[in-house]
């Protein structure tokens, strides 16, 4: 490209900011009649980044992803891929590769033909097409299945072929809509690890939709938490988990207990029902976020700070038991491993301590990030 050296420098400067943004959504909304599926969502993904859209059912994750792919047109806002405005371009002009929830492999084509389909449409020469198909099959370790048709594949195999098919075209962005929802629990964890490895290997920018917080935490570089069409918080898994910006995020990630209340002049939090937590928080009304792991069974030495708790629900998870406790009229969730045969049941009384040092209090009018 011809450009004067000064302009070139400028371009390089901005390349850090804009050129690296592979996907960019600016104030994107989508309405279905009265329903607002997606409201004013802005997000971006940098080169090679794995960004996850996380949220409960119906919060607009799929709609957002489909707008990036071009299957749904935004009511307002702009969508850019590689800094080119793609808002009104049809799907086949967009540099995306999508793995559908149902995989959507072509039933009348072999695995190899499925993978070659995109390359044919991109007019790759035959020899390159064939070597790329081989390469992709090797990547997903299914070279021996090249001549099968999709109906002869297992769910996990179909998914890997769908991934290979999407990646074969070397898309600027890979789009995944709940790619593990059709797999059983064990396969899901294995595929998750495999998928992450493959994505890292080819270093493709990825937008990933899930409602499973564990999936989001383990796989993503950044998480976009959505709630009823809006972005609640954007951050790394660590930020989202450790420093939730809103009560919704706190509740959605990691079984937190939320207590409404106020922080008094001495920095002590008092919940509406009357539970008091000693600390040094800022004065004013707020929501205390208490994680299960911040509640421990009281040891003998800590008798002074211990609270009495009654077990309301007890859920056995094997490695741990999740308890819902009634403490001074508030419901708190804790997680603990109990010795075999000593699991608390409904109505039991326990003595607990709360590690107040790590508890966050969110101001009542949460500042949106």
């Amino acid at each position: 490209m011809l450009a004067s050296s000064k302009e070139y420098e400028n371009m390089e400067d901005t390349a850090q900011d804009v050129g690296d943004l592979v996907v960019q959504l600016q104030s994107v909304s989508r309405h279905y009649g009265e329903t607002v599926a997606v409201a004013n969502v802005s997000l971006d993904a940098r080169r090679g980044e794995l960004v996850c859209l996380l949220g409960p059912s119906g919060c607009g994750k799929t709609t957002t992803l489909r707008m990036v792919a071009g299957f749904v047109e935004p009511t307002s806002g702009t969508i850019s891929i590689n800094s080119i405005n793609m808002t009104h371009q049809p799907p086949y002009r967009r540099d995306t590769g999508m793995v559908f929830q149902s995989y959507a492999l072509f039933p009348h084509m072999t695995v190899a033909e499925n993978i070659a389909f995109g390359l044919e449409n991109l007019k790759w020469p035959r020899a390159e097409r064939e070597s790329r198909v081989k390469e992709m099959l090797k990547l997903v370790e299914l070279s021996h299945l090249a001549q099968r048709v999709p109906s002869q594949l297992s769910g996990g195999q179909q998914q890997r072929i769908a991934l290979a098919r999407a990646l074969a075209m070397r898309p600027a962005v890979l789009l995944l809509d709940e790619p593990f929802s059709n797999l059983d629990a064990q396969l899901r964890v294995r595929m998750r690890e495999e998928l992450r490895e493959v994505i890292r290997g080819v270093n493709v920018t990825t937008l990933f939709v899930t409602h499973d917080q564990e999936e989001a935490l383990t796989m993503s570089d950044r998480i976009v938490v959505m709630n009823s069409g809006q972005v609640e918080q954007v951050g790394t898994p660590g930020e989202i988990y450790e420093a939730p910006a809103t009560p919704f995020v706190a509740k959605f990630i990691g079984w937190c207990s939320l207590l409404q209340g106020t922080v008094g002049a001495d920095g002590t939090f008092a919940s509406i029902a009357g539970l008091r937590l000693a600390g040094k928080w800022g004065v004013g009304p707020g929501t205390a976020v208490i994680r299960p792991e911040q509640i421990k069974l009281a040891t003998d030495g800590a008798a002074g700070q211990s609270l009495s708790a009654r077990v309301v629900q007890s859920h056995y998870y094997g490695a741990a038991t999740r308890l819902v406790l009634d403490v001074d009229g508030e419901r708190l969730t804790m997680q603990e491993r109990f010795p075999f045969g000593r699991h608390p049941t409904h109505g039991d009384l326990l003595s607990i301590t709360i590690n107040t040092n790590e508890i966050r209090i969110l101001p009542s009018t949460p500042a949106k990030s």
């Binding site: 792919a69 799907p91 109906s151 002869q152």
Partner: protein, 307 residues
């Protein structure tokens, strides 16, 4: 037809034996009335017709003996062979036109939400509920020398004087297309509803524009429906006799109307029966060959695609 798995093991079959017997009995009971009806009112008359086509005389009543003379007469007269050929060509043309017109229609119906699809489907089926005679007389009014089409054409000065539209081959083809189009539309519709629309989205995501998606995804997956529709329309067209007789008159010969004339006007049943069987067997052979060809087309690169 192209099964890929043999799911039932011997053990399976052993375990399911009583259930299987029960199923067979139920199936037999359910089928019995239909089978009786078909045997009594179709198989027996057809066999009688077959018998009469081997009679030497030209009358059914004094029918004794066994001879191939009716068939020899048919095949030795080039007129009949050319009518047979013409009938097949007409059948193919009608099926093709129905396919071209019916595919977009069937496809768009299949992609509508069920409620919207329902009343549109009723409109498509409506002509089938009318008596064929009523439809044909309707066409006579439209296509006649002083009919609707001619008066429109002359009043718009597109033609200077009324044209001969009735009793021409194109008129027969148009009316046949109108009659049989619903069968094609319904066949296409039913197969396209089986094609998951997400496959079209997947194709679009894989850089296929609408035309490529149509050619490489929709048509191959719709082949079973296309074949069903094509066969239906073809068979209905080559055996049509009211339309060619009333719209085509004596100038347009299709085998169906020839058979009708031979039997009903000349009362020469043995000769008509022989012609009917020639049409029956050649039609069957033709569609079988056509389907075999279409199926072999789908076995590409050693891969089988289950129909």
């Amino acid at each position: 037809m192209l099964t890929q798995y043999a799911p039932a093991t011997v053990k399976d079959r052993y375990v399911r034996e009583p259930l299987l017997r029960h199923r067979i009995v139920t199936a037999a009971l359910l089928l019995a009335p239909m089978v009786l009806l078909l045997v009594g009112f179709m198989v027996v008359p057809v066999l009688q017709l077959l018998r009469s086509s081997f009679l030497p005389s030209s009358h059914l009543l004094d029918g004794t003996g066994f001879s191939l003379v009716q068939y020899v007469r048919f095949f030795s007269d080039p007129y009949y062979s050319s009518v047979l050929l013409e009938t097949f060509v007409d059948g193919l043309i009608v099926s093709l036109i129905c396919l071209v017109l019916g595919f977009p229609m069937g496809y768009s119906l299949a992609r509508l939400p069920p409620l919207a699809r329902r009343w549109r489907t009723i409109i498509v089926i409506m002509p089938l509920t009318l008596s064929l005679v009523v439809i044909v007389f309707g066409w006579l009014i439209i296509l006649g020398r002083n009919g609707l089409l001619n008066s429109v054409l002359t009043s718009l000065y597109i033609v200077s004087s009324p044209k001969q539209l009735l009793f021409t081959r194109p008129a027969v083809l148009v009316v046949l297309v109108q009659q049989f189009l619903p069968f094609m539309i319904l066949s296409i519709m039913s197969v396209v509803t089986q094609i998951n629309p997400v496959l079209e989205q997947a194709a679009a995501n894989l850089r296929a524009n609408r035309f490529v998606t149509f050619r490489k995804v929709i048509v191959p997956l719709a082949v079973p429906g296309i074949l069903v529709g094509f066969n239906l329309v073809f068979v209905l067209s080559i055996s049509a006799f009211i339309t060619p007789r009333l719209i085509g008159g004596s100038r347009v010969a299709m085998l169906g109307s020839l058979i009708y004339e031979r039997m009903m006007s000349e009362l020469n049943w043995p000769s008509g029966a022989a012609m009917a069987f020639v049409l029956f067997v050649s039609g069957l052979g033709f569609t079988a060959a056509f389907n075999a060809l279409a199926a072999s087309r789908l076995i590409v690169g050693g891969r089988r695609y289950a129909l």
